[in-house]
Subunit: 214 residues, 4 copies
C-alpha cells in the first residue's frame, strides 16, 4: 500500500516499462468505460403504471442528462486518450494525479442522476458543473505536471502547448462560469455547456489555424 | 477535452498507431461487456414472499427479456468485432461515430428492463425496437463512413459490400418495421425479432452463396 | 449483425488472428470480472436501524452467498482461463457457444442474490443449482466442440481428455444432483456444493495421479 | 472447474506464459476498476425534496466515505500494480490467493456504503476496518508466498523486503488497531486511517532512507 516506485529511477521511460504504462492506461480506460455505462442506471423504469408511454415521456429530462453525460464523458475520454498517447514517461506523482482525476470522473454517474431528476433546480446544475470543473482542473494539473517534469514526447509538445492546453482551460472556465449563472437560470447554464460541444470544434480549429498548428 | 487528432495527418494508419487503435477497440469491448453484464440487474429478487417458486415463475418475462438482450448484444458485439478487425485506419470522426453508437448500446440495459417489466405493452416494445434501430443505424453510419473515407482494408471490402452491409440494413429494417406492428400486437413484434436470429444465418448464407462470397 | 467469419477460411489459426482471439478472451474476462464484482450489490445496507451491529449479523446468509459465488465464479474463471490458453484456433460456432456460456455466467449475480435472501428455501437453492448446472453444461459443450473440430493445441489434448474433461462432468453432475436434494433439504444441497471445493482438488489429484498425468 | 495447472511444471516462468500472466493481471485490474467505480452507487439521489441543496449537504458523510474508499482502493491498486510487476513466475496457489484477495477488494463498495450511511456508529467503522484488514492480510499472504516459493524477480527482492513488506504490515496493523478504538470513538478510528495517508509517505521515505533503499 505504498505508492513509491521500484528503485529504477525517479521516472520510467515508456518503452522500458511499457507493460506497466499500459496497465495504468487500461485502468483509466476501464474506469471511463464503467462510468459511461453506469449512466444508464439513472434511467428508472416507471413502477406499475397504466399509461407507460406517458410515464416514459415524463422521463425526458433523464434521457437528456444521459445524452449530455455520455457526450461529456466520451469527449473527456478522447482527450485523456490523446494526451496519454503523447506521454513518454510516468512517475508515481502522475499516477496519483491520474487517480485523483478518475475520482472526479467516477462521480459523474451520481451528479448526472441528480441532474436528470432535478434538471430545473439550481442546486442540481451547480453540482454537475462543479463535478465537471473538478474533472477539468485535475486534467489541467496532470498536463501541467507532465510539462514541468518533461514527461511528454517531443513531437507532442508544440501541439499541446498551443492547442490542447488552452482548450482544456476554456472547458474548465465555461463550467466554472456556469455555476453562478445556474443560481439565476439553470436552463441558461445548461445551454452554456451545449455551446462547448457546438462551438468547441470551430473555435478550436480557428485557434489552431491562427497559430499554424494542424 | 478536444477531439482533434495530433498533427500526424488526417487519418492514422493502423500499424503506425496500433496502441491507440487497440485502446479504442478495448474501450468499445468494455462498454459491450459492461452493458451485457448489467442486463442481470433488471432481474429483481422478489421481496419477502411466502411462495418463492411461484414468485420466480412470474418473472418469466424478465428472463425472456434478459435472454433476448443478451443474444442481441452478443450478436452486435460479434459484428462490431468483425468490422473493426477489417478497419485499417481511423480518424477522429470515426471515433466520434463509434462513441455515438456506444451511447445506443449502453442504453439497452434500460430498454431491456422496461421490456421485461411491461412485455405486453406496445410502448415497451416500441422503446426497445427504437433502441435497436438506433444501434443499427449508427453502425451502418460507421460502415458507410469507413468506405467513403477508404479506411477499410482491401481484403475486407468485397465481403463487407456484398454480405455484411446488406445484413445490417436488414436488421435495422426489421426492428424499424416492428415499431408500427407493436402498436397492434406487441407479441407479433417480438416474434419478428426472433425471426432474425432463426432465419438470419440461413438468409445470410443464401445471399453470400448467390454472390459467390463465402 | 452477422456472426459469420470473414472469408479467410472456416477456422482461424490463433497465431494468424492473435488480436481477434485476444479480444474474445478479453471480452470473456471482462464479463467474469464484472459479474464477480456485481455480486457485492446483493449485500444490502440495512435501512435506518437502531442496532446496526445486530442488523449486520442478520445479513450472514447474504455474506455466505457472496463467498460461495465469488469462489464459484473464481474457479470457473480459472478453468475458462486454462482451457482457452490451450485453444489453438477458433471459429464462429465457438464464439457463439462462448457467448451462450457467458449468458449463464452473467446470471450468477441474480441467482446468488436470491440464494442470499432465501437461503433456507428449496426454490432458491434449486435456482442457483440450475444456474451452475447451465454454466457447467455449456462449458462442457465448448470443450467437446473444440475437440471434435480439432481446435485444441496438441500438448493440451492428453491432459484435457484424462483430467479436466471428467472434472467438469463431476461439477455439472454434483450441481444437477443437488436439485432433487434441495427439495428435501436446502442445507444438504448447499453442503454438496461445498464438498466440491474441499474434496475437488484431492479427488482431482488422485484421478490425475492414477493416470500418470500431473 | 479445476484450478490445477496444465502439465508444464509446477510454476510458470513469466516470459514463457506472458499471455496468461497478463490475463490474471488484467482480471485483477478489472475487479479494481469496477469496484472503484461502483463506489459511486453508494451516493443516493435524494428522493423528491423541496430543498435539494440542503438534502445534498446532508449527504456529506456519503461523499467523505466515497473519497476515503477511492483513495484506499487507489492506493491498494498501485501497490498491487507495483508488486505484480516484480513477480517473475506464477503458480495455481498464487492465482487462488489473488482471487481470495480480490474477494476482499470487491467487498469495499458494500462496507463503504455502510460507512457512509452510519459514519457515527461503531459497527460501521469496525466493519470497514475489518474489510481493509482482510485486504491487507491477504496481500501480505501473497507477498510472503511469492518470497517463499521464489517467484519474485531478483532486482525487486531487496526493495520489497526492506521497504514494501513492512509498509503493508503497518497498514494492516493500523486498520486492525482501529477496530477496538472504534468501540470507544468512531471518529478517532477514522482519523487513524487518514493518518496513514498523510504520514504514510513520510514514514516510508524515512524507513527506506535509513536502510539505504531509494
Amino acid at each position: 500500500m505504498s505508492e513509491r516506485e521500484a528503485p529504477v529511477g525517479p521516472s520510467k521511460r515508456r518503452d522500458r516499462a511499457e507493460i506497466e504504462f499500459s496497465r495504468i492506461v487500461a485502468f483509466s480506460d476501464g474506469v471511463f468505460a464503467i462510468a459511461i455505462t453506469l449512466l444508464v442506471l439513472a434511467l428508472e423504469v416507471p413502477p406499475g403504471t397504466d399509461d407507460l408511454g406517458q410515464a416514459l415521456r415524463e422521463r425526458n429530462d433523464e434521457l437528456l442528462a444521459y445524452a449530455i453525460s455520455f457526450a461529456v464523458l466520451g469527449k473527456l475520454w478522447l482527450a485523456h486518450h490523446r494526451f496519454f498517447s503523447s506521454v513518454a514517461r510516468f512517475d508515481s506523482t502522475l499516477m496519483g494525479l491520474n487517480l485523483f482525476y478518475l475520482a472526479w470522473i467516477a462521480l459523474v454517474p451520481f451528479t448526472s442522476e441528480v441532474l436528470g431528476d432535478y434538471s430545473d433546480e439550481s442546486a442540481a446544475v451547480i453540482l454537475y458543473a462543479a463535478n465537471i470543473t473538478g474533472v477539468s482542473l485535475t486534467f489541467v494539473a496532470q498536463i501541467a505536471y507532465c510539462y514541468r517534469r518533461d514527461l511528454v514526447q517531443p513531437w507532442a509538445r508544440e501541439y499541446e502547448r498551443r492547442y490542447a492546453g488552452p482548450a482544456n482551460f476554456v472547458v474548465a472556465g465555461v463550467f466554472a462560469a456556469s455555476i453562478p449563472v445556474a443560481l439565476l437560470s439553470p436552463t441558461a447554464a445548461t445551454l452554456m455547456w451545449l455551446a462547448i460541444f457546438v462551438l468547441g470544434r470551430r473555435v478550436g480549429d480557428r485557434i489552431a489555424g491562427k497559430r499554424g498548428v494542424r
